[in-house]
Protein backbone atom coordinates (compact mmCIF):
# COMPACT_ATOMS: atom_id res chain seq x y z
CA UNK A 1 0.00 0.00 0.00
CA UNK A 2 1.58 3.29 -1.02
CA UNK A 3 -0.50 5.49 1.23
CA UNK A 4 1.61 7.16 3.89
CA UNK A 5 1.19 6.04 7.51
CA UNK A 6 -0.82 8.55 9.60
CA UNK A 7 2.07 8.60 12.05
CA UNK A 8 5.25 6.67 12.67
CA UNK A 9 6.46 5.29 16.01
CA UNK A 10 9.87 6.87 15.50
CA UNK A 11 11.35 9.23 12.91
CA UNK A 12 14.87 8.04 12.28
CA UNK A 13 16.95 10.41 10.23
CA UNK A 14 20.12 12.39 9.81
CA UNK A 15 21.24 15.78 11.01
CA UNK A 16 23.88 17.27 8.73
CA UNK A 17 26.09 20.04 10.04
CA UNK A 18 26.93 22.44 7.21
CA UNK A 19 29.28 24.30 9.55
CA UNK A 20 31.45 21.25 10.06
CA UNK A 21 31.34 19.44 6.71
CA UNK A 22 34.71 19.77 4.97
CA UNK A 23 33.52 18.38 1.63
CA UNK A 24 35.82 15.33 1.64
CA UNK A 25 33.20 13.01 0.03
CA UNK A 26 34.12 10.16 2.43
CA UNK A 27 30.38 9.68 3.14
CA UNK A 28 29.74 9.34 -0.61
CA UNK A 29 32.39 6.64 -0.97
CA UNK A 30 31.38 4.68 2.13
CA UNK A 31 27.69 4.86 1.12
CA UNK A 32 28.48 3.55 -2.34
CA UNK A 33 30.63 0.79 -0.87
CA UNK A 34 28.18 -0.42 1.77
CA UNK A 35 25.09 -0.22 -0.42
CA UNK A 36 26.72 -1.92 -3.37
CA UNK A 37 27.54 -4.97 -1.27
CA UNK A 38 24.46 -5.17 0.93
CA UNK A 39 20.73 -4.28 0.80
CA UNK A 40 19.16 -4.66 -2.66
CA UNK A 41 20.78 -4.67 -6.07
CA UNK A 42 24.27 -3.14 -6.40
CA UNK A 43 24.77 0.52 -7.29
CA UNK A 44 26.06 0.14 -10.82
CA UNK A 45 28.48 2.30 -12.77
CA UNK A 46 28.40 2.87 -16.51
CA UNK A 47 31.70 3.29 -18.36
CA UNK A 48 33.52 3.76 -15.01
CA UNK A 49 37.04 3.83 -16.48
CA UNK A 50 36.10 5.29 -19.85
CA UNK A 51 35.61 8.74 -21.29
CA UNK A 52 32.10 9.34 -19.93
CA UNK A 53 31.71 7.70 -16.52
CA UNK A 54 28.43 7.86 -14.59
CA UNK A 55 26.81 5.80 -11.88
CA UNK A 56 24.19 5.44 -9.20
CA UNK A 57 24.81 7.21 -5.89
CA UNK A 58 22.51 7.55 -2.86
CA UNK A 59 24.44 10.45 -1.43
CA UNK A 60 26.12 13.31 -3.27
CA UNK A 61 28.04 16.31 -1.97
CA UNK A 62 27.45 19.65 -3.67
CA UNK A 63 29.46 22.81 -2.95
CA UNK A 64 27.91 26.28 -2.88
CA UNK A 65 29.41 29.71 -2.76
CA UNK A 66 27.45 32.20 -0.65
CA UNK A 67 28.24 35.89 -1.04
CA UNK A 68 27.04 38.03 1.88
CA UNK A 69 26.24 41.72 1.38
CA UNK A 70 29.51 42.62 3.07
CA UNK A 71 32.62 40.55 3.64
CA UNK A 72 34.18 37.66 1.81
CA UNK A 73 32.25 34.82 0.15
CA UNK A 74 31.80 31.54 2.04
CA UNK A 75 32.17 28.08 0.56
CA UNK A 76 29.68 25.57 1.96
CA UNK A 77 29.83 21.86 1.30
CA UNK A 78 26.40 20.35 1.08
CA UNK A 79 25.83 16.58 1.37
CA UNK A 80 22.44 15.52 0.04
CA UNK A 81 20.63 12.19 0.37
CA UNK A 82 17.05 11.04 1.04
CA UNK A 83 15.42 13.18 3.76
CA UNK A 84 12.88 10.43 4.70
CA UNK A 85 10.05 12.99 4.54
CA UNK A 86 6.96 12.68 6.74
CA UNK A 87 4.84 13.61 3.69
CA UNK A 88 6.98 11.79 1.16
CA UNK A 89 5.54 12.54 -2.31
CA UNK A 90 7.64 9.72 -3.79
CA UNK A 91 5.63 7.13 -1.85
CA UNK A 92 2.10 8.13 -2.83
CA UNK A 93 2.85 8.38 -6.58
CA UNK A 94 4.15 4.80 -6.78
CA UNK A 95 1.73 2.72 -8.89
CA UNK A 96 2.91 -0.70 -7.66
CA UNK A 97 3.27 -0.30 -3.90
CA UNK A 98 7.04 -0.79 -4.19
CA UNK A 99 7.74 2.51 -2.40
CA UNK A 100 6.71 2.68 1.22
CA UNK A 101 7.33 4.46 4.51
CA UNK A 102 7.81 2.21 7.53
CA UNK A 103 5.48 2.72 10.49
CA UNK A 104 8.05 1.53 13.06
CA UNK A 105 10.86 3.97 12.24
CA UNK A 106 9.73 6.21 9.35
CA UNK A 107 12.38 4.96 6.90
CA UNK A 108 11.34 5.30 3.24
CA UNK A 109 12.27 2.16 1.31
CA UNK A 110 11.81 0.56 -2.12
CA UNK A 111 10.79 -3.08 -2.51
CA UNK A 112 12.97 -3.73 -5.53
CA UNK A 113 11.10 -6.93 -6.48
CA UNK A 114 7.93 -4.91 -7.10
CA UNK A 115 9.53 -1.82 -8.70
CA UNK A 116 8.73 -1.47 -12.41
CA UNK A 117 11.29 1.30 -12.91
CA UNK A 118 8.80 3.89 -14.17
CA UNK A 119 10.77 6.68 -12.49
CA UNK A 120 7.73 8.63 -11.27
CA UNK A 121 8.94 8.63 -7.63
CA UNK A 122 12.17 10.31 -8.74
CA UNK A 123 10.06 12.88 -10.61
CA UNK A 124 8.06 13.54 -7.44
CA UNK A 125 11.14 14.04 -5.23
CA UNK A 126 12.30 17.68 -5.13
CA UNK A 127 15.70 16.76 -3.68
CA UNK A 128 17.03 14.38 -6.33
CA UNK A 129 17.30 11.67 -3.70
CA UNK A 130 16.23 8.79 -5.92
CA UNK A 131 18.17 7.42 -8.88
CA UNK A 132 17.08 4.74 -11.32
CA UNK A 133 19.86 2.20 -11.63
CA UNK A 134 20.80 1.93 -15.30
CA UNK A 135 21.92 -1.70 -15.04
CA UNK A 136 19.08 -3.13 -12.93
CA UNK A 137 16.19 -0.90 -14.02
CA UNK A 138 14.94 -0.38 -10.46
CA UNK A 139 14.85 2.70 -8.24
CA UNK A 140 17.63 3.11 -5.69
CA UNK A 141 17.56 5.38 -2.67
CA UNK A 142 19.07 5.85 0.78
CA UNK A 143 17.87 3.10 3.16
CA UNK A 144 19.32 4.86 6.19
CA UNK A 145 21.44 1.68 6.23
CA UNK A 146 18.49 -0.33 7.51
CA UNK A 147 20.79 -3.37 7.24
CA UNK A 148 23.31 -1.83 9.67
CA UNK A 149 21.29 0.01 12.30
CA UNK A 150 19.50 -3.13 13.59
CA UNK A 151 22.29 -5.56 12.69
CA UNK A 152 23.34 -7.51 15.78
CA UNK A 153 26.21 -9.13 13.87
CA UNK A 154 27.95 -5.77 13.84
CA UNK A 155 29.73 -4.26 16.86
CA UNK A 156 27.42 -1.79 18.57
CA UNK A 157 29.41 1.28 17.52
CA UNK A 158 28.88 0.31 13.87
CA UNK A 159 25.07 0.16 14.14
CA UNK A 160 24.54 3.50 12.43
CA UNK A 161 24.40 4.55 8.78
CA UNK A 162 27.66 4.06 6.94
CA UNK A 163 27.97 7.77 6.08
CA UNK A 164 27.65 8.78 9.74
CA UNK A 165 30.14 6.13 10.90
CA UNK A 166 32.63 7.27 8.27
CA UNK A 167 32.45 11.09 8.51
CA UNK A 168 35.89 12.17 9.75
CA UNK A 169 34.66 15.64 10.68
CA UNK A 170 31.67 14.57 12.78
CA UNK A 171 29.36 16.52 10.49
CA UNK A 172 26.71 13.79 10.31
CA UNK A 173 24.47 12.66 13.16
CA UNK A 174 21.91 9.87 13.31
CA UNK A 175 18.98 9.43 15.66
CA UNK A 176 15.26 9.64 16.37
CA UNK A 177 14.02 13.11 15.45
CA UNK A 178 10.53 12.46 16.84
CA UNK A 179 11.98 12.22 20.38
CA UNK A 180 12.59 15.77 21.66
CA UNK A 181 15.14 14.45 24.18
CA UNK A 182 17.31 12.64 21.64
CA UNK A 183 20.79 13.99 20.96
CA UNK A 184 19.87 14.86 17.37
CA UNK A 185 16.71 16.73 18.40
CA UNK A 186 18.73 18.68 21.00
CA UNK A 187 21.27 19.55 18.33
CA UNK A 188 18.54 20.75 15.98
CA UNK A 189 17.00 22.89 18.73
CA UNK A 190 20.34 24.44 19.75
CA UNK A 191 21.62 25.17 16.27
CA UNK A 192 18.39 26.14 14.48
CA UNK A 193 18.21 23.04 12.28
CA UNK A 194 16.29 23.70 9.07
CA UNK A 195 14.25 21.96 6.38
CA UNK A 196 15.24 22.04 2.71
CA UNK A 197 12.57 23.51 0.38
CA UNK A 198 9.93 23.89 3.11
CA UNK A 199 7.55 25.33 0.49
CA UNK A 200 7.36 21.91 -1.17
CA UNK A 201 5.53 20.73 1.99
CA UNK A 202 7.32 17.39 2.21
CA UNK A 203 8.12 17.80 5.94
CA UNK A 204 11.62 16.31 5.77
CA UNK A 205 12.84 14.31 8.78
CA UNK A 206 16.51 15.05 8.03
CA UNK A 207 17.60 18.47 9.23
CA UNK A 208 20.46 20.72 8.16
CA UNK A 209 22.39 22.82 10.67
CA UNK A 210 23.21 26.20 9.10
CA UNK A 211 26.81 27.43 9.06
CA UNK A 212 27.67 29.49 12.17
CA UNK A 213 28.40 33.19 11.57
CA UNK A 214 32.04 33.66 10.59
CA UNK A 215 34.44 35.50 12.89
CA UNK A 216 35.22 38.98 11.65
CA UNK A 217 38.54 40.60 12.52
CA UNK A 218 37.32 43.83 14.08
CA UNK A 219 38.92 47.13 13.12
CA UNK A 220 40.59 48.50 16.29
CA UNK A 221 39.15 51.83 17.36
CA UNK A 222 42.55 53.29 18.31
CA UNK A 223 45.85 51.92 17.13
CA UNK A 224 48.86 53.24 19.03
CA UNK A 225 51.29 51.93 16.43
CA UNK A 226 49.52 53.32 13.37
CA UNK A 227 51.31 56.67 13.27
CA UNK A 228 54.67 54.88 13.25
CA UNK A 229 53.61 52.63 10.40
CA UNK A 230 52.36 55.32 8.01
CA UNK A 231 54.37 55.60 4.78
CA UNK A 232 57.58 57.51 5.42
CA UNK A 233 58.03 59.28 2.08
CA UNK A 234 54.96 60.55 0.24
CA UNK A 235 57.11 61.92 -2.63
CA UNK A 236 59.86 59.44 -3.34
CA UNK A 237 63.26 60.90 -4.07
CA UNK A 238 66.61 59.38 -5.02
CA UNK A 239 66.81 56.46 -7.40
CA UNK A 240 63.18 55.34 -6.87
CA UNK A 241 62.02 58.92 -7.51
CA UNK A 242 64.09 59.14 -10.69
CA UNK A 243 62.76 55.73 -11.89
CA UNK A 244 59.22 56.81 -11.15
CA UNK A 245 59.65 60.00 -13.19
CA UNK A 246 61.32 58.16 -16.07
CA UNK A 247 58.52 55.58 -16.21
CA UNK A 248 55.91 58.35 -16.21
CA UNK A 249 57.57 59.88 -19.29
CA UNK A 250 57.66 56.71 -21.38
Amino acid sequence: MTSLPASTQRSLGLVIDLDTCVGCHACVVSCKGWNTENYGVPLSDQDPYGANPSGTFLNRVHSYEVQPDAGPAQLIHFPKSCLHCEDAPCVTVCPTGASYKRIEDGIVLVNEDHCIGCGLCAWACPYGARELDAAEGVMKKCTLCVDRIYNENLPEEDRMPSCVRTCPAGARHFGDLSDPDSAVSQLVAQRGGMDLMPEQETRPVNKYLPPRPKDRIAEPEFDALAPYLSPVAEDPGGFVGWLDKMLEKI
Partner: protein, 291 residues
Amino acid sequence: MHPAPSVIVFTTLSGLGFGLLFWLGTGVVVPTGWAGFGYFALAFGLSVGGLIASTFHLGHPERAWRAMTQWRSSWLSREGVCAVACLLAMGFYAAGLVLFDLRLTVLGFAGAVLAAGTVFTTSMIYAQLKTVPRWNTALTPVLFLSISLAGGAVLTGRFGLTNVLLLVAGVVQVVWWMRGDTALKQSGTTLASATGLGNIGAVRAFEPPHTGTNYLLREFVHVVGRRHALKLRTIALVAGYVLPVLLMLPGSLVLTALAALCHLLGVAASRWLFFAEAEHVVGLYYGKRVA
Protein backbone atom coordinates in the same frame (compact mmCIF):
# COMPACT_ATOMS: atom_id res chain seq x y z
CA MET B 1 12.54 17.16 -18.16
CA HIS B 2 13.98 14.65 -20.60
CA PRO B 3 11.53 14.36 -23.52
CA ALA B 4 11.46 10.53 -23.70
CA PRO B 5 10.11 9.47 -27.11
CA SER B 6 8.12 6.58 -25.59
CA VAL B 7 6.17 8.92 -23.29
CA ILE B 8 5.56 11.49 -26.04
CA VAL B 9 4.32 8.79 -28.44
CA PHE B 10 2.16 7.32 -25.65
CA THR B 11 0.45 10.54 -24.55
CA THR B 12 -0.02 11.78 -28.12
CA LEU B 13 -1.40 8.59 -29.69
CA SER B 14 -3.44 7.33 -26.77
CA GLY B 15 -4.82 10.83 -26.17
CA LEU B 16 -6.12 10.81 -29.73
CA GLY B 17 -7.38 7.22 -29.44
CA PHE B 18 -9.26 7.78 -26.17
CA GLY B 19 -10.65 11.02 -27.61
CA LEU B 20 -12.14 9.07 -30.53
CA LEU B 21 -13.45 6.40 -28.14
CA PHE B 22 -15.20 9.18 -26.20
CA TRP B 23 -17.10 10.35 -29.29
CA LEU B 24 -17.87 6.78 -30.37
CA GLY B 25 -19.18 5.95 -26.90
CA THR B 26 -21.37 9.04 -26.63
CA GLY B 27 -22.88 8.25 -30.01
CA VAL B 28 -21.74 11.33 -31.92
CA VAL B 29 -20.88 8.78 -34.57
CA VAL B 30 -22.60 5.37 -34.48
CA PRO B 31 -20.86 3.33 -37.18
CA THR B 32 -21.96 -0.27 -37.77
CA GLY B 33 -20.62 -3.16 -39.86
CA TRP B 34 -17.36 -2.58 -41.72
CA ALA B 35 -17.44 1.20 -41.14
CA GLY B 36 -17.72 0.45 -37.43
CA PHE B 37 -14.82 -1.97 -37.68
CA GLY B 38 -12.72 0.77 -39.29
CA TYR B 39 -13.55 3.37 -36.63
CA PHE B 40 -12.96 1.07 -33.68
CA ALA B 41 -9.81 -0.45 -35.18
CA LEU B 42 -8.40 3.08 -35.51
CA ALA B 43 -9.42 4.05 -31.96
CA PHE B 44 -8.10 0.83 -30.39
CA GLY B 45 -4.96 0.94 -32.54
CA LEU B 46 -4.11 4.44 -31.32
CA SER B 47 -4.98 3.91 -27.65
CA VAL B 48 -3.46 0.43 -27.29
CA GLY B 49 -0.45 1.36 -29.44
CA GLY B 50 0.16 4.32 -27.15
CA LEU B 51 -0.19 2.17 -24.03
CA ILE B 52 2.31 -0.35 -25.39
CA ALA B 53 4.75 2.47 -26.23
CA SER B 54 4.48 3.69 -22.62
CA THR B 55 5.88 0.40 -21.31
CA PHE B 56 9.11 0.95 -23.27
CA HIS B 57 10.40 3.46 -20.74
CA LEU B 58 9.95 1.03 -17.83
CA GLY B 59 12.93 -0.68 -16.26
CA HIS B 60 10.84 -3.84 -15.75
CA PRO B 61 7.89 -3.93 -18.19
CA GLU B 62 7.16 -7.56 -17.23
CA ARG B 63 5.97 -6.32 -13.84
CA ALA B 64 3.66 -3.67 -15.36
CA TRP B 65 0.56 -5.50 -14.08
CA ARG B 66 1.52 -4.50 -10.54
CA ALA B 67 0.77 -0.89 -11.54
CA MET B 68 -2.96 -1.73 -11.34
CA THR B 69 -2.84 -2.27 -7.57
CA GLN B 70 -2.38 1.17 -5.99
CA TRP B 71 -5.40 3.03 -7.38
CA ARG B 72 -6.25 4.34 -3.89
CA SER B 73 -3.18 6.60 -3.80
CA SER B 74 -1.45 6.76 -7.20
CA TRP B 75 -2.63 8.61 -10.32
CA LEU B 76 -0.44 6.39 -12.49
CA SER B 77 -2.19 3.35 -11.09
CA ARG B 78 -5.63 4.96 -11.61
CA GLU B 79 -4.65 5.64 -15.23
CA GLY B 80 -3.87 1.95 -15.74
CA VAL B 81 -7.19 0.87 -14.19
CA CYS B 82 -9.18 3.43 -16.21
CA ALA B 83 -7.46 2.48 -19.47
CA VAL B 84 -8.11 -1.24 -19.07
CA ALA B 85 -11.72 -0.70 -17.93
CA CYS B 86 -12.34 1.65 -20.88
CA LEU B 87 -10.88 -0.78 -23.42
CA LEU B 88 -12.98 -3.63 -22.02
CA ALA B 89 -16.22 -1.60 -22.03
CA MET B 90 -15.60 -0.18 -25.47
CA GLY B 91 -14.56 -3.63 -26.74
CA PHE B 92 -18.01 -5.03 -25.92
CA TYR B 93 -19.69 -1.85 -27.21
CA ALA B 94 -17.75 -2.18 -30.48
CA ALA B 95 -18.62 -5.88 -30.78
CA GLY B 96 -22.32 -5.02 -30.44
CA LEU B 97 -22.17 -2.40 -33.19
CA VAL B 98 -19.85 -4.19 -35.60
CA LEU B 99 -21.16 -7.74 -35.30
CA PHE B 100 -24.81 -7.39 -34.30
CA ASP B 101 -25.76 -3.87 -35.43
CA LEU B 102 -26.76 -3.34 -31.79
CA ARG B 103 -26.03 -0.15 -29.83
CA LEU B 104 -25.53 -0.78 -26.11
CA THR B 105 -26.11 2.87 -25.19
CA VAL B 106 -25.40 2.66 -21.44
CA LEU B 107 -22.21 0.67 -22.00
CA GLY B 108 -21.15 3.24 -24.62
CA PHE B 109 -21.61 6.13 -22.21
CA ALA B 110 -19.77 4.22 -19.48
CA GLY B 111 -16.91 3.64 -21.94
CA ALA B 112 -16.91 7.34 -22.88
CA VAL B 113 -16.65 8.38 -19.22
CA LEU B 114 -13.79 5.90 -18.74
CA ALA B 115 -12.06 7.22 -21.88
CA ALA B 116 -12.22 10.80 -20.59
CA GLY B 117 -11.18 9.43 -17.18
CA THR B 118 -8.10 7.82 -18.71
CA VAL B 119 -7.00 11.12 -20.27
CA PHE B 120 -7.75 12.94 -17.02
CA THR B 121 -5.77 10.48 -14.88
CA THR B 122 -2.85 10.67 -17.35
CA SER B 123 -2.83 14.45 -17.02
CA MET B 124 -3.01 14.24 -13.21
CA ILE B 125 0.24 12.22 -13.17
CA TYR B 126 1.91 15.43 -14.33
CA ALA B 127 -0.38 18.00 -12.71
CA GLN B 128 0.16 16.53 -9.21
CA LEU B 129 3.93 17.12 -9.28
CA LYS B 130 4.88 20.12 -7.15
CA THR B 131 8.44 19.50 -8.25
CA VAL B 132 7.60 20.66 -11.80
CA PRO B 133 5.85 24.03 -11.35
CA ARG B 134 5.04 24.28 -15.06
CA TRP B 135 2.85 21.16 -14.79
CA ASN B 136 1.48 21.74 -11.30
CA THR B 137 -1.79 23.43 -12.29
CA ALA B 138 -5.45 22.59 -12.88
CA LEU B 139 -4.87 23.85 -16.43
CA THR B 140 -2.86 20.70 -17.24
CA PRO B 141 -5.88 18.34 -17.13
CA VAL B 142 -7.88 20.97 -19.03
CA LEU B 143 -5.16 21.03 -21.70
CA PHE B 144 -4.93 17.24 -22.01
CA LEU B 145 -8.72 16.78 -22.11
CA SER B 146 -9.31 19.58 -24.62
CA ILE B 147 -6.57 18.28 -26.94
CA SER B 148 -7.83 14.70 -26.67
CA LEU B 149 -11.48 15.60 -27.32
CA ALA B 150 -10.53 17.89 -30.22
CA GLY B 151 -8.27 15.20 -31.73
CA GLY B 152 -11.00 12.58 -31.40
CA ALA B 153 -13.44 14.99 -33.06
CA VAL B 154 -11.08 15.46 -36.02
CA LEU B 155 -11.15 11.68 -36.52
CA THR B 156 -14.95 11.62 -36.49
CA GLY B 157 -14.91 14.06 -39.40
CA ARG B 158 -17.67 16.26 -37.83
CA PHE B 159 -16.71 19.75 -38.93
CA GLY B 160 -18.80 21.86 -36.55
CA LEU B 161 -17.84 19.95 -33.42
CA THR B 162 -14.16 19.85 -34.42
CA ASN B 163 -14.09 23.54 -35.17
CA VAL B 164 -15.26 24.57 -31.72
CA LEU B 165 -13.09 22.02 -29.89
CA LEU B 166 -9.92 22.92 -31.81
CA LEU B 167 -10.49 26.59 -31.03
CA VAL B 168 -10.94 25.79 -27.33
CA ALA B 169 -7.86 23.53 -27.29
CA GLY B 170 -5.78 26.19 -29.07
CA VAL B 171 -6.77 28.88 -26.57
CA VAL B 172 -6.10 26.56 -23.59
CA GLN B 173 -2.71 25.71 -25.12
CA VAL B 174 -1.67 29.37 -25.37
CA VAL B 175 -2.89 30.16 -21.84
CA TRP B 176 -1.05 27.07 -20.52
CA TRP B 177 2.19 28.21 -22.17
CA MET B 178 1.84 31.75 -20.84
CA ARG B 179 1.27 30.56 -17.26
CA GLY B 180 4.05 28.01 -17.61
CA ASP B 181 6.70 30.56 -18.52
CA THR B 182 6.50 32.21 -15.08
CA ALA B 183 5.52 29.09 -13.09
CA LEU B 184 8.96 28.33 -11.63
CA LYS B 185 9.36 31.91 -10.46
CA GLN B 186 5.86 31.92 -8.96
CA SER B 187 6.47 28.62 -7.14
CA GLY B 188 8.88 30.31 -4.72
CA THR B 189 11.38 27.45 -4.89
CA THR B 190 14.86 28.85 -5.47
CA LEU B 191 18.43 27.82 -4.85
CA ALA B 192 18.12 29.83 -1.61
CA SER B 193 15.19 27.74 -0.34
CA ALA B 194 16.73 24.53 -1.71
CA THR B 195 19.92 25.01 0.31
CA GLY B 196 18.50 27.05 3.19
CA LEU B 197 21.53 29.33 2.81
CA GLY B 198 19.68 32.35 1.39
CA ASN B 199 19.73 34.33 4.65
CA ILE B 200 23.56 34.44 4.59
CA GLY B 201 23.78 35.91 1.10
CA ALA B 202 23.47 35.19 -2.60
CA VAL B 203 23.87 31.44 -3.26
CA ARG B 204 25.71 30.15 -6.31
CA ALA B 205 26.40 26.54 -7.28
CA PHE B 206 30.17 26.36 -6.99
CA GLU B 207 30.97 22.74 -7.73
CA PRO B 208 28.72 19.81 -8.71
CA PRO B 209 29.00 16.52 -6.79
CA HIS B 210 30.66 14.72 -9.69
CA THR B 211 32.58 15.81 -12.76
CA GLY B 212 30.51 13.49 -14.97
CA THR B 213 26.80 13.39 -15.64
CA ASN B 214 24.22 11.32 -13.73
CA TYR B 215 20.63 10.05 -13.83
CA LEU B 216 19.26 13.25 -12.30
CA LEU B 217 20.92 15.48 -14.88
CA ARG B 218 19.87 13.24 -17.77
CA GLU B 219 16.26 12.92 -16.59
CA PHE B 220 15.47 16.33 -15.09
CA VAL B 221 17.84 18.97 -16.39
CA HIS B 222 17.07 18.97 -20.10
CA VAL B 223 17.36 22.53 -21.33
CA VAL B 224 15.75 23.57 -24.58
CA GLY B 225 16.91 26.59 -26.55
CA ARG B 226 14.48 29.52 -26.33
CA ARG B 227 14.52 30.30 -30.05
CA HIS B 228 13.94 26.62 -30.77
CA ALA B 229 11.01 26.59 -28.37
CA LEU B 230 9.32 29.55 -30.03
CA LYS B 231 9.60 27.89 -33.46
CA LEU B 232 8.14 24.66 -32.12
CA ARG B 233 5.31 26.50 -30.40
CA THR B 234 4.41 28.11 -33.71
CA ILE B 235 4.50 24.72 -35.46
CA ALA B 236 2.37 23.18 -32.71
CA LEU B 237 -0.20 25.97 -32.88
CA VAL B 238 -0.47 26.14 -36.67
CA ALA B 239 -0.29 22.40 -37.41
CA GLY B 240 -2.22 21.28 -34.35
CA TYR B 241 -5.10 23.73 -34.23
CA VAL B 242 -5.30 26.08 -37.26
CA LEU B 243 -4.54 23.93 -40.34
CA PRO B 244 -6.92 21.07 -39.39
CA VAL B 245 -9.86 23.51 -39.36
CA LEU B 246 -8.99 24.74 -42.87
CA LEU B 247 -8.34 21.24 -44.18
CA MET B 248 -11.70 19.93 -42.94
CA LEU B 249 -13.63 22.78 -44.52
CA PRO B 250 -14.21 21.11 -47.93
CA GLY B 251 -15.45 17.91 -46.23
CA SER B 252 -13.42 15.47 -48.33
CA LEU B 253 -12.25 12.21 -46.75
CA VAL B 254 -8.65 12.58 -47.98
CA LEU B 255 -8.37 16.12 -46.66
CA THR B 256 -9.91 15.06 -43.32
CA ALA B 257 -7.28 12.31 -43.06
CA LEU B 258 -4.65 14.94 -43.83
CA ALA B 259 -6.17 17.21 -41.15
CA ALA B 260 -5.85 14.36 -38.63
CA LEU B 261 -2.18 13.78 -39.54
CA CYS B 262 -1.52 17.50 -39.34
CA HIS B 263 -3.17 17.67 -35.89
CA LEU B 264 -1.15 14.65 -34.73
CA LEU B 265 2.08 16.38 -35.79
CA GLY B 266 1.10 19.57 -33.98
CA VAL B 267 0.15 17.75 -30.79
CA ALA B 268 3.40 15.76 -30.91
CA ALA B 269 5.33 19.06 -31.10
CA SER B 270 3.29 20.44 -28.23
CA ARG B 271 3.91 17.28 -26.19
CA TRP B 272 7.66 17.40 -26.90
CA LEU B 273 7.69 20.95 -25.55
CA PHE B 274 5.54 19.84 -22.56
CA PHE B 275 8.49 17.74 -21.38
CA ALA B 276 11.45 19.60 -22.84
CA GLU B 277 10.45 22.97 -21.39
CA ALA B 278 9.42 21.66 -17.97
CA GLU B 279 11.81 22.70 -15.21
CA HIS B 280 12.23 20.23 -12.35
CA VAL B 281 13.28 21.99 -9.14
CA VAL B 282 16.15 19.53 -8.59
CA GLY B 283 17.93 21.45 -11.35
CA LEU B 284 18.36 24.26 -8.82
CA TYR B 285 20.81 22.14 -6.81
CA TYR B 286 22.94 21.89 -9.94
CA GLY B 287 22.74 25.63 -10.65
CA LYS B 288 20.92 24.87 -13.89
CA ARG B 289 17.84 27.04 -13.36
CA VAL B 290 17.69 30.77 -13.37
CA ALA B 291 15.06 31.44 -10.74
